[in-house]
Structure formats: structure tokens, C-alpha cells
């Protein structure tokens, strides 16, 4: 449908306005804590976008959000909810790290793609298990992915303090649960002096690839068809169960890649603090938010991931600059998510109203058959 430029700009105002409203509420709390809201938010903006390094950090943060978010797009299109991003990231990272450590003297150009492949396989398996359980055993994927996350964390803790522990640490009394560092040749290229690594560009490329795959290939079409109407799809001869598994496998593979990118692009080894978040930074959950804010569209997820990454990075900078408790920052993140997702309602209402005015002004366009979104 034709929409004017102005209307599109107005559309954008809703989520931004909602976020602004959340920040106004946050400002009240900040003021109550005796901190200048202006100073605090200036620090947040500066910390997220203010310098080259800040912008790079935002993009580094956004990368796993985008990768997980792309997986969420695929899964949701196939009508499955993947809350297992955390576990899939961990398993992908574990496998990729194990490969890099087991084969320490390969050329980087060979090992890095191999590690990516291995990580995607790991994530795919960790996502595929809930997929198979859902398709063939009717086990709900929300349940199984939550459980698989917990299992992955314990697996990571076991491996990092046992079989995969850094040999240096193994000899120390304190035994820090981390692997040895990867060969320098295996590091993803960086935009020196920042930490922005090749993974970010890769994630953007993948966003386009996923977009193309979902809308321009038969497989993608069938996944969307299965998500849109499983009964009709079955009737049309699509093996619905297989596509359900495929949706979770792909979703897991992308999350697994996100885990590999964190190791090969950011930390260069795996370290655990006992929790999933310590390694993933919560990207397995926040990626869901990014995808949904991006309207479950691979390309929409790109700016959504960047903005959400900016919020996370800027919030930490705010803590440093004005010394507010990190708890406030967490609460504010939550508020932004709630407000932005609620603003959809007003945006859609405005859209409807606009459409109504248009149809009154112009004769009805020829009807198109329903197609999966």
C-alpha cells in the first residue's frame, strides 16, 4: 500500500515517543536519587554514540542481539517461540572454542569459517532437540528451551572447570574456570583500536540473507506458510513437522554463531562466572526483544538490535558517569521494552485511521489474496 513519507515518519514517532516517556519516568527516579537526569542521560547518549569507541561498543553489543534476533525471526515466522537462545549460544561457543583449542596451529582463514560452522551445528543441535520434541512428542518449546538453557549452563561450568580448563589455571590453587586463549591468528579482524569486529558485518550480511531466504526461496515460503496456517499447509502437502524442526534448528544455528562470535571476536577464550548471562550478556533473551521490536523482520531487527545495544552500553556508561545503582538501569530497560511494545497499539490505530481516510478518498484497490506476512 502506498504510504506517504510523512506518514512513515509519524510511524517512527510512536516507539521513540514511548521510549522517551519511559525515560521521563526514569528521570523522576534519578531526581529522587539526587542525580541530575540531564547529566545522566547525556552520559548514556555519550556512552552509546558519543565517540568512535562508544559507537563501536554499541555495535559489538548489538552483534549477538542481531544474530539471535534473526534466529527469533525465523522461529516466529514458523510459529515457534525460541527462548533457548542463551543455551544455544553457550553450546555453539563451547564447540567452536573446543575446535580452536584442539587445533591450535591451523591458518586463520581455514579455522575461523570452520569454527563458525561448528558453532552453528552446536546451536542447531541445541535448538533442534526442542524442535524434535515439539514436532514429534508434543513437548512445548517454551518449556524445553528454558530447561535446555539450564542444562547448557551446567555443561559449560563442568567443561570450563574440568576438561576444557586452561592448563595454567589447572595448576593454580584458585582454578579460574576459563579455557586457554585462542591462537591470535583465530581472532576475528577488528577495526583497530576499537573492539568492533568482523562479526558485526557478518551479522548484517546474514540479516539480508535471512530476509532473502524467508521471502525469496521455497523453503522460506513454506516456513512462513507453516507458521501462518499449519492446517492449510498440511493440506497443501508441506511436511509441517519437518518445517517446525527446521525453524528451531535454524534459529539455534544463528544463536550458536552468536556464541562463537563472542569468543572469537570479543573475549578470545571462554570464561564462566557460573551463570549464562556472564557469558552471553543476556543476548539470548535480549535478542528476542530486538527481533520483536524489529517487527520480526530480519532487516527491521538490524536497527532494533543497534538501538537495544546502545541502551545496554549507554546504561553501563551512565552507571560509571553518575554512579547510579545498576539496578535502576535494569528497571529502566524493562520500562523501555514495555512502553515501546505498547506503543505499537497507537501506531496501528493511527495507521488504520490513515487507511480509512485514504480509502474514502480513492476508489478501492484491486483485492489481493491473503499471503503469509
Amino acid at each position: 500500500m502506498p504510504t506517504s513519507w510523512r506518514a512513515r515518519l509519524v510511524d517512527l514517532l510512536y516507539p521513540l515517543g514511548a521510549a522517551a516517556l519511559a525515560f521521563v519516568l526514569g528521570a523522576l527516579v534519578l531526581a529522587a536519587l539526587g542525580v541530575s537526569p540531564v547529566e545522566a542521560y547525556a552520559a548514556l547518549l555519550r556512552g552509546a554514540f558519543g565517540t568512535r569507541n562508544a559507537l563501536a561498543e554499541t555495535l559489538v553489543k548489538a552483534t549477538p542481539l542481531l544474530l539471535v534476533g534473526l534466529g527469533i525471526c525465523v522461529a516466529f515466522r514458523g510459529q515457534v517461540i525460541n527462548i533457548g537462545g542463551e543455551g544455544q549460544m553457550i553450546v555453539g561457543a563451547l564447540l567452536a572454542t573446543a575446535l580452536g583449542l584442539a587445533w591450535p596451529d591451523a591458518p586463520g582463514w581455514l579455522l575461523i569459517p570452520l569454527a563458525m560452522a561448528v558453532a552453528m551445528v552446536g546451536g542447531a543441535v541445541w535448538g533442534g532437540i526442542p524442535g524434535v520434541l515439539k514436532a514429534y512428542y508434543n513437548v512445548n518449546e517454551i518449556l524445553s528451551t528454558i530447561m535446555m538453557n539450564a542444562i547448557a549452563v551446567q555443561l559449560m561450568n563442568y567443561l570450563l572447570r574440568g576438561p576444557m580448563i586452561d592448563p595454567v589455571q589447572a595448576q593454580r590453587a584458585s582454578q579460574i574456570p576459563q579455557t586457554a586463549a585462542l591462537n591470535v591468528a583465530y581472532r576475528l579482524p577488528r577495526w583497530v583500536p576499537t573492539r568492533l569486529h568482523l562479526g558485526a558485518a557478518l551479522a548484517v550480511l546474514l540479516a539480508f540473507a535471512v530476509y532473502f531466504w524467508l521471502w525469496r526461496t521455497g523453503w522460506g515460503y513454506r516456513i512462513r506458510a507453516v507458521g501462518y496456517n499449519p492446517h492449510a499447509s498440511r493440506y497443501a502437502g508441506i511436511p509441517v513437522k519437518r518445517y517446525t524442526v527446521l525453524a528451531l534448528v535454524l534459529s539455534g544455528a544463528l544463536a550458536g554463531l552468536a556464541g562463537m562470535v563472542q569468543v572469537y571476536g570479543v573475549n578470545y577464550r571462554m570464561i564462566t562466572d557460573g551463570s549464562a548471562t556472564g557469558f552471553t550478556g543476556g543476548a539470548g533473551f535480549n535478542g528476542i526483544v530486538a527481533a520483536l521490536l524489529g517487527q520480526l523482520h530480519p532487516l527491521g531487527t538490524i536497527p532494533a538490535a543497534v538501538l537495544f545495544g546502545a541502551l545496554l552500553v549507554g546504561a553501563n556508561a551512565m552507571q560509571r558517569a553518575v554512579q547510579v545503582p545498576s539496578a535502576l538501569v535494569t528497571a529502566l530497560n524493562g520500562l523501555v521494552v514495555v512502553f515501546v511494545v505498547s506503543s505499537e497499539y497507537f501506531r496501528r490505530r493511527a495507521q488504520r485511521r490513515r487507511l480509512l481516510e485514504q480509502t474514502r478518498a480513492t476508489p478501492p484497490a484491486p483485492a489481493r489474496g491473503p499471503s503469509p506476512r
Binding site: L12, R46, F49, R161, R172, A173, P177, Q262, D273, G300
Partner: protein, 340 residues
Amino acid sequence: MRRLFLFALLVGLALGLVACGGGEATQAPAAEEARPFRIAVVMPSAINDMAFSQSMYDALVKLQQDMGGPAKLEFVYSENMYVVDDAAAAIRDYASQGYDLVIAHGSQYGSSLQEIAPDFPETSFAWGTTVDTFKEMGIDNVFAYEARSEQGGYVNGVMAALLSQSGVIGVVGPIETGDAKLYIDGFKAGVLATNPDAQVNVNYIGSFSDTALAAEAAKTHIQAGADVMTGTAQMVVGAISVAKDHGVLWFGTQADQSSLAPEIVVANQVYDWTVALKPMVENIQKGVRGGEAYSLTLANGGLTIQYNPAFNLPAEVKDAAQKTIQGIIDGSIQIPVGGE
């Protein structure tokens, strides 16, 4: 295509913000003599966790008092930095802001520090808890600090063995690594050296935050006959509460936990990081930026056993504890864990 447009717009917006934001605010260098010493610390949990992070926060407050208030020492902190790469970003940011000493208070931050420190040769860093200063890698601006928590663990173990009637002692830990493992291994050694027939049941609950599971682990220990317990990390407050409910004795570590259950906490191993921080500050003021490793021990006063004044500790147990402390200090007691 509507969304492509949206994307382009948002990217444009972001870039616009960068342009508006401009360069980093430059700090005017203050006159050298008036300038306070500035410390930044990055911590994995909250400053009021009654455990690891609180012990560092308390030390900084004390150091500030000892050095003559905020005019002499300024410190800032980032708490709850459990995400390793967020911590790395914080460390880098503090370093670029020109702090004299940036403390990475968590063994999981070492890898990041190894990468960041060479980029800021004028800044001193400290990493705990470890003995690694990366000196052998040619990095000379990192201090290391650790707590020989097995020492206090051993003393607590000796007292626990003497106080236990049942001969069964329960331990609640997070995951079997790092400071927790050191303390628990030392505690076990102390118990068994005092009463070889005692039984020490250890439960690692796989989490630093699951207070409810820590509590249930404590109940399990009690069911298994334990009448004395200990534990380490921030989730043990759940276990302490259970111990209090059941009148089971408790030994604390990392911070003073007596206030939580004055009737059952016997003693705490308390960390005083100022013992490591003071020489670091002195060294930096002399121009030495790193390369030294500091340990908190019973001998140097970094570790102290603080008896809960509200608990009526039998004199002979206290004597045994004091003798053990002496023995560890003069080397006549060797603890079969930890150390290099």
C-alpha cells in the same frame, strides 16, 4: 520496503547523534599536588552482597578514611558487572578517563585486563583474585591480589570440628572453582586435621544467586546430621537463615555475617583488601605501576578471624583457633591446598 526505509532512517539518526555528541569530554589536568588519588573498581556483584564485592567496597571506604577523605582519595565503582565483556568495556573506559588505578575485582576479568593494560601504559591496573601480573608477557602495569582464603577456612574448620557434637559438618558452595574452592578445601582440611573421623559434606549448588536452593542445601545438611555449617558466596545468606531457624552453628567468610544471625554465627573470616591496596597506592605514587602480587594472609592481617561477640564461644575452642592462627603464621601448620 517500509522497513528498509525505517532502517536507513534509524542509522541516519544514530550517526546524527554521533555528530552531535562530538568528541570525548576532555578532562582538564588539575594541579598535581591538589589532585586526589583516583581509583575505579569493577565488581561482579552488588556492593551490599555481604560477600566478595562488599569486601572490596568496604576496603575502599576504609582506605579513603585512612588516607584522609575524598580530598586525598576518590573512588568510583561499577557493580553487578557479571557480563564479562561489559566489564571489559568498563575497565577500558575507566582507563581512558585517566584513573590512577583501575581494579578488576573478579578472576573472570583477567583475560580482558591482559588485553587492555598494554594500551594504557600510564595507568595501573589490579586484578584479583589471582597471582598473575602478566609480567612474563612483558606487561608491567598490572598488580595482582588474592586472598589465601584456605587459611581462614582452615581455622574455621578447626573450630567447627571442635564444636560439632554429631561429627557431621555441612558446606554450601556456588561452583567448584576460585575463591570458593580454596576456602572450602581449607575448611575441610582444618576439620579433618582436628577430627579425622568427622564427616564433611560439601554441596555445590551450581549458582551464585539461587538463594532458595542454597537454603534447601542447608536443610539437606541438617537432615544428614550436620550441626555446624559454613558456606561461601553471596547466595549463602539463604543457608544462614536456615541455620538460624534450626539453631545450627555457622562460620562465615568474605565479609562479617554476624549481623544476619547473631545467635548462631560463631566466627567469620573477614577480608581486608586494604592490605593489598595500600602498598599498591604507595607503589604507584613512587612510580611503580605494576608487577607485584599481593596476598591477604593471616600473617599480614589481610585475613582476620572475627569472633561474633554475641556468641558464647568456649574458651578452649577459641584457644585452639588462636593456636591454629599462630601455627599458620609461623609456618608450623601447612595447609595441603592452595599456594604455589
